[in-house]
């Protein structure tokens, strides 16, 4: 298991939105998290790389083991956690003042691990991994925001890959994209699965079925059911899961 979550609770002020979740995320697989809005799935995801605590008033407790180390241990540096566990956000957020090329190496440059000599290789490798190279190789100097929404999101994936993480968290990465751009991202995720462990939060149940080996169903801050994707959608064990995937609520 790449990540093992034990008894995770997360709150905004007095409002507890993740209420004691145990969940294991296998290496080099995609785990999908589905559930209605407000079920705590995004908050859960943001606890996995210590982004949750950046929101003023946000707290959490419990254990999140990355390999064998609890990322909430006192001596762990949250900044380093985020270098191992990367994140792709709901809306593509390339840095507007930077070119395509600079966006890719932004993570290295921000953290002063940037080497001008290696930059072209890093840029090409990350953009190839993100299946964006062929579309942008002749305009690397143009602003990242000049790309289409789907390309921007793949640029953000390339940017996350360039810092060489082990795990990639994706928070509804296609919810701002059209179906064609979505299909390209899904294709890309299936490629990346060979090298990275991924967790994807999605509203799109079709997407979970297309990309994820395993799917977890969250409801009101609790994990209702976790199973391999075919089982969860084919023969859900819990009636609430069955109701949700049949579209009877949510």
């Amino acid at each position: 298991m790449k990540i093992t979550v034990k008894g995770l609770r997360a709150s905004f002020g007095d409002n507890e939105v993740v209420k004691g979740i145990d969940l294991a995320i296998p290496s080099r697989q995609i785990t999908a998290i589905i559930g209605p809005s407000g079920c705590g799935k995004s908050t859960f995801l943001r606890c996995l790389n210590r982004m949750h605590e950046l929101v003023p008033g946000a707290t959490c407790s419990g254990k999140v083991l990355l390999d064998d180390t609890d990322i909430y241990q006192a001596d762990v540096d949250p900044v380093l956690v985020r270098r191992w566990v990367g994140m792709v956000f709901q809306k593509p957020n390339p840095f507007p003042a930077m070119s395509i090329k600079d966006n890719v190496v932004a993570g290295l440059r921000l953290t002063h691990r940037y080497d001008r000599k290696d930059a072209p290789d890093v840029v090409e490798r990350a953009l190839r991994q993100a299946a964006l190279w062929d579309e942008v190789k002749d305009k690397l100097g143009q602003p990242g925001t000049s790309l289409s929404g789907g390309q921007q999101q793949r640029l953000c994936i390339a940017r996350a890959l360039a810092v060489n993480p082990d795990v990639i968290l994706l928070d509804e990465p296609c919810s701002a994209l059209d179906p064609i751009a979505t299909a390209r991202i899904e294709e890309l995720l299936l490629e990346l699965r060979r090298d990275y462990s991924m967790v994807i939060v999605t509203h799109n149940m079709g997407q979970a079925q297309r990309v994820a080996e395993r799917t977890a169903f969250f409801l009101q801050g609790e994990l209702v059911e976790l199973a391999d994707t075919a089982t969860l959608f084919g023969r859900p064990a819990d009636p609430r899961t069955a109701d949700y995937i049949a579209g009877r609520f949510g």
Binding site: G57, F89, H112, V163
Partner: protein, 291 residues
């Protein structure tokens, strides 16, 4: 029964619709006319006095036709530089702390309350504070440094507020992007947030400084001198400033000195205009880069 469709004879709201734009135009025209009138009067009276030596020479107390506002202009420049050097780092630093490091904490809201109150305190009160704190307690005496520190206190709330507004225009998504890549708070602030907010911060800073240039009351209190032959040659020099010099000329019993005051006003206005124009240029550049 079909009703005949009437598309031509509305009777409601006609007067207000006609009247309101004219009221608005009047509202725009009045302050413009007053400013224009002031500028014209000052220009007619003062333009004859302005030449190279008026900008550089020391004032004469006997003859209004000779001398100039050299020491006051130099004093104002010294004040601008020193005030900026003190108020900008502190003000921008405070804004960064409040927006980037300690958002929505109790301390932040306390500071916010203090700032919005300080912004409304009359400038003469800042003068009293400067007199007590800088001139006496810190024993700086009646020096250009004490004056600059007092002006820095005066504009600090404006600088902080403007810088916070500028920082707030930077989207949180960009902060999260940088932090999510494993950047520290400072790396994020320094390399992502500040470059985006900088033109806005500078615009606010320049507007704050142009406020400081025009201030007279606090300088009177902290001991800017009314008559001096030389500009400052160090932070511990006695000094005067443009508005002080203008005030001194207008209070001279000889009528000819009023022309000097008008010329001084022209110089002060030109300085303000240059600074404000620069601020507007900066702001436009920001907007261009955001699209």
């Amino acid at each position: 029964m079909r009703r005949p469709i009437d598309l031509t004879s509305r009777r409601d709201g006609i007067l207000a619709e006609r009247l309101f734009p004219w009221l608005c135009r009047l509202g725009v025209a009045l302050p413009l006319a007053m400013l224009g009138w002031l500028l014209l009067r000052v220009f007619v009276d003062g333009v004859g006095r302005i030449d190279g030596s008026f900008l550089t020479d020391a004032p004469s107390q006997l003859n209004a036709k000779v001398g100039g506002l050299g020491p006051a202009l130099m004093g104002s420049l010294w004040l601008i530089v020193l005030t900026s050097a003190v108020a900008l780092p502190i003000g921008i630093g405070a804004a960064i702390y409040l927006e980037e490091y300690d958002r929505r904490s109790r301390l932040a809201s306390l500071v916010e309350l203090a700032i919005s109150n300080l912004a409304g305190v009359p400038s003469i009160v800042y003068g009293m504070l400067g007199l007590g704190l800088f001139v006496h307690t810190m024993a700086l005496g009646e020096t250009v440094l004490a004056g600059a520190l007092t002006l820095a206190l005066l504009i600090l709330p404006i600088v902080i507020t403007a810088a916070r507004e500028a920082l707030r225009t930077v989207k949180d998504a960009l902060r999260e992007a940088a932090l999510g890549l494993g950047a520290t708070r400072w790396q994020t602030t320094r390399q992502v947030v500040l470059p985006m907010a900088l033109p806005g911060i500078l615009t606010g800073a320049i507007l704050a400084i142009s406020r400081a240039i025009g201030e007279t009351a606090p300088l009177v209190v902290v001991g800017a001198v009314a008559f001096i032959m030389y500009g400052p040659d160090g932070v511990d020099s006695p000094y005067t400033a443009l508005p002080m010099q203008i005030f001194q000329w207008t209070s001279n019993p000889k009528r000819e000195f009023l022309d000097n005051a008008a010329a001084g006003i022209l110089v002060l206005m030109a300085t303000l205009l240059i600074l404000n124009g620069f601020a507007i240029w900066l702001r436009n550049r920001t907007q261009a880069r955001r699209t």
